[in-house]
């Protein structure tokens, strides 16, 4: 085997390994991180959605009797917060327990019950019936490439719309 062929093979191997280490692995790492973040986003979304549906139990029964839909504001907030805390494993101050996906304080930016000026259009969705709009920020940990991204926390910003559940 000539020296030139050997040299060519080594160069080829080095370039190939460099491609794997510097392009292929980071690319996969980013994809895996995105997949994990998507899962966390789904957990947050599901928890907030369950909390919103539970909050519908604070509908004012007297008002509902005359066809008006209004929520008892204090009870609405309490139910939402208690169910969100149970599902995201948060303490009373909305700070995540060690086994929670939230790595810090969860911020409920807004929680509103929309029952007027219907139908309401939000993006591609049209709401014909009253709904709850909830906006929360949940800090989550970065599992892969935390060093490369130079951060170990990410803030998931979720806006969830939940319509009044109808039971068939």
């Amino acid at each position: 085997m000539s020296d030139q062929t050997k040299k060519g093979s080594v160069e080829f191997a080095v370039i190939f390994c460099a491609l794997v280490v510097f392009i292929f692995l980071p690319l996969f790492g980013t994809l895996a991180q995105k997949a994990l973040l998507y899962q966390k986003k789904e957990i947050v979304h599901q928890s907030a959605n369950l909390a919103s549906m539970a909050a519908y139990t604070s509908l004012n029964a007297n008002q509902a009797g005359i066809g008006e839909q209004s929520l008892l504001q204090e009870e609405f907030n309490n139910v939402f917060q208690s169910v969100l805390c149970a599902n995201l494993k948060l303490d009373q101050n909305l700070v995540g327990f060690p086994h929670s996906i939230a790595t810090g304080k969860v911020d409920i930016i807004s929680l509103t019950y929309v029952s007027e000026n219907l139908p309401v259009t939000v993006g591609n969705r049209i709401f014909m019936y009253p709904f709850i709009r909830c906006e929360i920020k949940v800090p989550v940990s970065v599992d892969i490439l935390a060093g490369w991204m130079n951060q170990d926390k990410l803030l998931l910003h979720e806006v969830i719309y939940t319509e009044l559940p109808f039971d068939k």
Binding site: F12, A13, L25, F28, Q39, S47, L50, A54, V83, D167
Partner: protein
């Protein structure tokens, strides 16, 4: 020339190994998403009916078995009046033949849990 063929062959095997390893890492994520969705459906049904029934439990169990999950433990609130807490806890094991080296796979069980709470909307007439 033959040296380059050998090197390319070795590197291709190496890359293939990494690809298989990485793809296998993502499979549990996909199963977990399906597991979560099945449990969510069961919890919403519990919320509307006011607790866990045999029908819901069996349906959930079948859905989880269809996902190839084992060691299924389902615990849920049996009866809840309007405004009371409904809780569903499900623990399952994901059976996975993980690749530990080039020609060796080891059967591993990964346990995952679903634990969510809601409020019953069942009105007792």
């Amino acid at each position: 020339m033959s040296a380059r063929v050998v090197v390319t062959g070795v590197l291709l095997v190496f890359v293939l190994l990494i690809v298989v390893f990485m793809v296998e890492m993502l499979i549990p994520l996909s199963v977990y998403a399906d597991f979560n969705e099945s449990c969510r459906i069961a919890l919403i049904r519990m919320e509307a009916i006011g607790g866990m029934t045999t029908e819901i439990e069996e349906d959930l169990s079948n859905r989880l078995r269809a996902l190839n999950l084992t060691d299924i433990i389902i615990t849920g609130t049996q009866h809840a009046k309007y405004g009371e807490v409904v809780r569903l806890q499900v623990t399952v094991a994901m059976k996975n033949h993980e690749m530990v080296s080039l020609f060796q796979r080891v059967l591993q069980y990964r346990y995952v849990t679903y634990d969510k709470t809601s409020i019953s909307r069942r009105i007792i007439k």
